[in-house]
């Protein structure tokens, strides 16, 4: 059973923004609903209004323009999976979208929803009855405590959406609309905090995700590690992009992003720097990943020990890099 709320069905983006601005924090945006409605059922949130974005035409399209591909936030994951444009141009994105949730989830869930999905927390998500006894205590519930990171000064819940990591590795931008319009790098969308995971103002939402076409000699990869092959959140996910210099075989540009480790996807810039201009030999990759991972704080949102997640993150980061190097030619 869901708590009562009012349902608003805007026909245009402007109408949606008007309603968001008018209703403020009492309203939530409804896209696929696969996470939001579950959150409402578990009594974690109780919005008075849901504003449905799925009926706005134009938010559900994939289009090619000016050397980029524009993905509407309302594109379902299964439409993305079936897009020949995505399959042909963005191997890692295509691979990532196929391993999210299950067929039913992919038929419902959207790209925008996956990028803005609520963070996960091993305390909140495994408390029973759902979150009720911690009301008002932890940061996420409006208090000033974190039960997962003792002494933590903020909410440390984990951003576990898969598309964020892969789209950041592909250097994507997002178009945000509210009272005005702005475009930022997807990487900059995330605050790094578990509560209020994105920099979106209450009256704003994503209106497009722009992924630039890959230059020639690029290679991409995406890997996801989890216990079950479906309907399971990642223990870690890794996405890489490598631009190879075909004459010398070295990596000219490298981007490596890890997901599900913290409140925002983590870009291992130090690893990227160490690998730039180098031959992709195994020991070089291994050292670059080990150095890049040093001091990176990891939070477990599932009860899997942090030490194990750290080792797996290194393993999967190395594997993702090797696959991206192999895919580039």
């Amino acid at each position: 059973m869901l708590n009562r709320f009012e349902y608003i069905k805007p026909n245009t983006v402007d109408e949606a923004i008007f309603n968001l601005a008018r209703l403020g924090k009492e309203a939530k945006i409804l896209a696929g609903g696969t996470d939001l409605l579950a959150q409402i059922k578990k009594n974690r949130i109780s919005p008075r209004y849901l504003i449905d974005l799925m009926t706005i035409s134009g938010l559900g399209q994939i289009q090619e323009e000016d050397g980029e591909i524009g993905i509407g936030p309302g594109v379902t994951l299964s439409s993305l999976e079936k897009s020949t444009l995505i399959k042909k141009r963005f191997g890692s994105l295509w691979k990532a979208v196929q391993v999210i949730g299950a067929p039913q989830i992919r038929n419902m869930a959207t790209v925008g929803g996956n990028l803005c999905v609520e963070t996960r927390c091993k305390y909140m998500d495994f408390s029973h009855p759902w979150g009720r006894e911690i009301s008002g205590k932890c940061f996420k519930r409006g208090g000033a405590l974190c039960h997962v990171v003792k002494g933590g000064d903020r909410c440390h819940a984990v951003m576990a959406g898969d598309l964020a990591a892969v789209l950041i590795a592909l250097n994507s931008k997002v178009l945000i609309k509210g009272r005005s319009e702005r475009m930022i790098f997807l990487e900059d969308l995330y605050t790094g905090e578990g509560k209020g995971v994105t920099r979106l103002n209450p009256d704003e939402f994503l209106t497009q995700i722009r992924v630039p076409f890959l230059p020639p000699h690029s290679g991409t990869s995406f890997l996801k590690y989890r216990w079950r092959e479906s309907l399971d959140f990642p223990i870690v996910s890794a996405a890489a992009w490598v631009l190879k210099n075909p004459d010398e075989g070295i990596g000219q540009e490298i981007r490596l992003v890890l997901g599900a480790l913290a409140s925002a996807p983590i870009r291992l810039k130090k690893t990227e720097d160490l690998l730039r201009g180098k031959m992709p030999r195994d020991h070089i990759i291994e050292e670059a990943v080990q150095e890049g991972m040093e001091g990176i704080p990891i939070v477990s949102c599932s009860g899997v020990p942090v030490s194990y997640i750290r080792r797996m993150a290194q393993t999967f980061a190395m594997k993702a890099l090797r696959e991206a190097y192999e895919a580039s030619h």
Binding site: M1, Y7, L37, L50, D52, S78, A102
Partner: protein, 158 residues
């Protein structure tokens, strides 16, 4: 405030007044008394509430009833044509692909949606196709075999 929706369920057109917070599953089970779709976990994890909306499988427990407006919904009750069972239903009986039966309506609809899209799936594709439906009795092998056999029969017939 109630919303008026127009929807087609199992081939029958309905004009219905629904509360905004009703799920499609509640509309089907509690209002229309179509109890084939089951209320299992209610959180989009078990797949027992699976129905087909506009050709695609969805979890009706996480779909608002208002979202069925202008859509066509197929539940297990609408799958057979009169007395003639769907090939997937026949195959489930032939292969004994159920025990307690709780997952069966969702499992059959996932199998049907898969075959509509991919008439000749590999075993791997079948397993991926039903990966959103949990079964705690059969161990899945008979279900996979049943869908495989239905696929062969549909291909032969078609």
């Amino acid at each position: 405030m109630k919303h008026l929706i127009e929807t087609k369920i199992n081939g029958i057109s309905y004009r219905l007044e629904v509360e905004p917070h009703w799920t499609l599953l509640e509309l089907l089970r509690d209002v229309l008394r179509l109890t084939g779709a089951k209320d299992g976990c209610g959180m989009g994890e078990c797949g027992s509430c699976t129905v087909i909306m506009d050709g695609k499988t969805i979890y009706s427990c996480l779909t608002l009833a208002v979202r069925a407006d202008g859509k066509e919904v197929l539940t297990i009750e609408g799958l057979a044509r009169g007395e003639e069972l769907d090939p997937v239903q026949k195959a489930f009986i032939e292969y004994g692909a159920f025990q307690c039966g709780f997952c069966t309506p969702g499992m059959i609809l996932s199998g049907k949606a898969l075959l509509d899209e991919n008439p000749n799936p590999t075993e791997e594709e079948i397993r991926r196709g039903i990966s959103g439906n949990l079964c705690r009795c059969t161990g899945y092998n008979m279900i996979v075999e049943a869908i495989q056999s239905a696929s062969e029969k549909r291909v032969k017939r078609g």
